[in-house]
Symmetry: C2
Subunit: 430 residues, 2 copies
């Protein structure tokens, strides 16, 4: 039996669940792996907060640096979140040769290179399965199971809050505001929902997924980002009649020259696509590779216990490394990403415009399309009398051409309004 | 750069795809991992078969034992399939200290303990991600990502052939025979489809999944097995009207006393369940754990290239181990499984009977139910005139009580026929 001493930074929702899992499953882990995971110290910031019942009060400290400096601690688990002071603490732990397990997407998405370099420098391990997709195994399958695979595309529903909101808007016809209020009442959304609804959270996770999938260093600010504030129940209902559902996706793609594109935006997904059936607050990541074809990994993307489960899996792995000497050769640091400018992206689009219903309007609109190389796959007209709504679904179009087209359409006297522009993804028939 | 020499046993569908992947992705793997995977020798049995274009004919041999005995070979990849001679060759390689990667479900499901013991004895690694679910990462996530998780249930669609057949019967109303003929024409089903339709293949994969998920040694013959030969398009259509789809599942469960049950059988799955949307020849495994909640891993469960992708992931892992000294502590050998007798299982059921439509028949039928503790959740009657069909959906019932009930019902003079009995799974509302 080898004992591995664990220092825990942060004991909130995830940390508390981890303490309970160590208490409840520690014996089973010992029997299976021969490793005893001993909780050596727990650093917290809020003295008033209740702690898990099984946590010995003598282990609690308010000085996180003391764990980083304690030579008897083998592995640090960082569950503080955010960049400061997590970054300094994790860098310190890695420099001291301690392996680090973290669930901190912001830290990994913005400072992953620096953390990996520190780990490689001291021979420590850096593991962050829980930083994307909560309890869903993603980082390890991408890095290890698919080590020999040329991954071409990763599409993920990685934000449970917005997926919950879009599910309510789809299934109950709720408005954006109603869906947000419901998500807030359930504790899924913060009072300030910016990180979720403006896709900052999804963009961070997209950066992590793309870095691992393509072996190119992507940071959060490299990710093109559009949120869901402008999506209406009407957009969703109309998409539904065409056989699509609306999802907030991160999409990471690589072209034949190994240039990559990473973006987070709402998109129309065919209702027969496996991602379409990911409802409520569930997460899923759909992976396409040259040899493996299509994979999807699905589960609880957030929550204390699912996230703690992923942390514990990493912790067992890190403990194996400490116990046996770490055999896993550090990955070569990924080169900076070769990003495709967003304007150069090809995508199919769905959008609508309000027009005055008079002769010649469609010809004017079609003229703008032709001028900017926008090829229409299908069109639908609604409304009678003076006003009509035109719905368009395009073939693959250059982003820059699509944007120019919408601007030009907006300038036509016969066009009263240009509605929501949505990308269409995952449609093999295009 | 570390060179790891690989000996390949078998160069059919999967082996050929592996040779192509090594050729095509070898440079990318080198850049990423610092490991050069060098194909040292390829043993084949059929001299006449065409080989992949990139394979140097000088590497081909007809003597598999020569690879096992070659001290310059570090890792053996076994893609022969079946028990003999694969078992002797793999045991020999492990005894010689070579790590082994295999896609052989039959071998692992029946001789896994012996193989693991041989690997532990010589410090070699034994990896078999490709033995279940083709290209889907399953073994590694279950063993590593969920190392700290108490897994309570695993339900899998792990046979692509029967899932394809059931999809045709569900979506096109095809008969069993038509669906089988179609699967055979597409090369999904063998001329003798026994291994697929009688669930031998699913049972082997269930044994492997259960062993890893529960840490108890399960062999293929421990798995209760029922096939799909008796399923009719009518059964499927009626299930559909009740909101269910019919799937061939492996179900592995553990009770609160850590007794386990592993079985392969057709089952009714609610159409809202993630497994219900797994169509065509795709595979998926749905995992439930105490902390992680629900997970599903989905993808191509067969085919040369997806399976070769999983083999290559294992091969990179094994090569890491050879290059750096294997740090991963061998798992403790699992104890023999504590199996729940099949008669003691609780399950909800769906079945139908043909009865003479005369007064008092329902009372007789209900009497048999009451006598054997079968509680009915819903009933539907069809048909007028002399004959009627009664459809029953039960609450959870002991398997042994259900079987006795059906026997007694068959003995009633008013009952003309007892129809297909199907378990209902994944229904949280029961």
């Amino acid at each position: 039996m080898t004992t591995v001493r664990v220092g825990l930074l942060g004991c909130g929702n995830v940390g508390g669940a981890l303490v309970e899992l160590l208490e409840g499953h520690g014996k089973a882990i010992e029997a299976r792996t021969g490793l005893r995971l001993e909780l050596a110290s727990v650093a917290v910031s809020d003295k008033a907060k209740p702690r898990p019942a099984g946590l010995d009060p003598a282990l609690v400290t308010f000085d996180p640096q003391s764990l980083v400096d304690d030579p008897s601690i083998d592995v640090i688990v960082e569950l503080i979140g955010g960049v400061d002071p997590a970054r300094q603490l994790v860098m310190g732990a890695l420099a001291n040769g301690k392996s680090v397990v973290t669930a901190n997407k912001e830290l990994v998405a913005n400072f992953g290179l620096e953390l990996h370099a520190a780990a490689a420098g001291s021979g420590a391990e850096l593991l962050y399965e829980a930083s994307v997709g909560g309890g869903i195994p993603l980082v390890r399958p991408l890095r290890e199971s698919l080590a020999g695979e040329r991954i071409t595309r990763v599409m993920g529903i990685v934000n449970g809050t917005t997926n919950y909101m879009l599910t309510r808007m789809t299934e109950d016809g709720a408005s954006y505001d109603e869906a947000l209020a419901e998500a807030q009442a359930l504790g899924y959304a913060e009072r300030d929902p910016t990180a979720d609804v403006d896709a900052f959270d999804a963009a961070s996770k997209g950066a992590i997924l793309a870095t691992i999938a393509f072996g190119q260093a992507v940071v959060a600010s490299d990710v093109h980002r559009e949120g869901i504030r402008h999506i209406t129940a009407d957009d969703i209902a109309r998409a539904g009649r065409l056989g699509f559902v609306v999802k907030l996706l991160v999409v990471a793609e690589r072209d034949l020259e190994d240039r990559i594109s990473v973006r987070a935006h709402p998109a129309l997904v065919p209702s027969t696509h496996p991602l379409a059936s990911v409802r409520e607050s569930f997460n899923a990541v759909f992976i396409e590779g040259d040899a493996v074809g299509e994979l999807m990994l699905y589960g609880r993307g957030a929550g204390g216990r699912p996230t703690a489960s992923a942390v514990l899996g990493d912790l067992v792995d890190a403990a194996h490394g400490r116990a046996g000497g770490n055999a896993r050769a550090p990955m070569a640091p990924p080169p900076p990403a070769r990003l495709i400018p967003i304007g150069d992206l090809l995508s199919a689009y769905y959008f609508n415009i309000d027009v005055k219903d008079r002769p010649g309007v469609l010809a004017q609109v079609a003229g703008v399309f032709g001028e900017h190389r926008v090829s229409i796959r299908s069109m639908e007209q609604h409304g009678i009398g003076d006003e009509a709504q035109l719905y368009f679904h395009t073939h693959d179009v250059l982003e820059t051409d699509m944007r120019t087209t919408l601007e030009r359409l907006g300038e036509l006297p016969a066009v009263d309004r240009v509605g929501t522009l949505l990308r269409v993804v995952g449609d093999a028939d295009l």
